[in-house]
């Protein structure tokens, strides 16, 4: 059952994939899990959001 991962494991793999390329089996397992798990998809969107938010940090202070 190498493709079965818990939500906890998937969270970690999703978070770490922001910083390193996961192995082929890990990536397949994550894709499989995300296809059926809304909570983990949310978590992934949150990680993407965080990246975008920091890219724009500290934000526009309205002065142009």
């Amino acid at each position: 059952m190498i493709f079965i991962r818990t939500c906890k494991e998937v969270h970690r793999l999703v978070a770490e994939s922001m910083d390193r390329r996961a192995g082929i089996i890990e990536r397949a397992a994550v894709r499989l899990h995300l296809a059926i798990c809304e909570s983990c998809r949310r978590f992934m969107r949150q990680m993407d959001f965080l990246r975008e938010a920091i890219r724009r940090y500290p934000g526009d202070d309205g002065r142009r």
Binding site: E16, Q46, I54, P58
Partner: protein
């Protein structure tokens, strides 16, 4: 020369210093880098199209100056890995010890709507301040300066595994903080 713009540029100094200090860990180097940034901005003010905010424009210049400084290697390096920061283990508050959800991640709604709110960045700033200094520094090298993990590990003289664990902890800490301080109840 545009006196209003010069004034606006100077007003951003405290923000720029805050960012530079976090990344460079050396007061005089941070001040030099910010000074360079302000001079570059004043020299290049004709190129400032006014399409973005002054702060955004200055932060863009500052990022390049900080990265140059890091690559020149002329700052205090070698991050001392805090035992707690580098430790493997459970720090995802969403799960209990058995790996079951304690709470499910919330729906954060439309990212654009959040990212256009000025107040959001204040909360994000508070959450960044809440990280341990090492985590904040390494996370900002990665996400704010946009450096690759390999370069970060090399600069801070830590192992890739340590690097990944620390970045992971920073991401989880910020996620939890934002959920609590910003998204709690704000999204239906």
């Amino acid at each position: 020369m545009n006196p209003t713009l010069q004034d606006d540029i100077e007003k951003q100094r405290p923000y720029l210093l805050r960012i530079a200090r976090l990344q460079l860990r050396n007061e005089s180097v941070a001040e030099d880098v910010v000074q360079d940034t302000l001079i570059a901005a004043l020299e290049g003010q004709d190129r400032f199209a006014g399409k973005s905010a002054v702060r955004t424009w200055l932060v863009g210049i500052l990022k390049h100056k900080i990265i140059d400084q890091i690559r020149r290697g002329s700052r205090e390096v070698a991050l001392v890995v805090d035992v707690a920061d580098g430790q493997e283990g459970d720090f995802d508050a969403l799960f209990d010890e058995a790996g079951h959800f304690v709470e499910v991640p919330r729906e954060w709604g439309d990212p654009e709507r959040t990212l256009e709110q000025k107040r959001f960045y204040e909360v994000l700033g508070l959450c960044l301040d809440g990280l341990s200094p090492n985590l904040a520094r390494i996370f900002m090298m990665r996400e704010f300066l946009g450096l690759e993990t390999a370069e970060i590990c090399k600069d801070l003289q830590i192992t890739p595994t340590n690097c990944w664990v620390m970045l992971y902890r920073a991401r989880m800490g910020l996620r939890a903080c934002l959920e609590q301080r910003w998204f709690q109840g704000s999204v239906a």
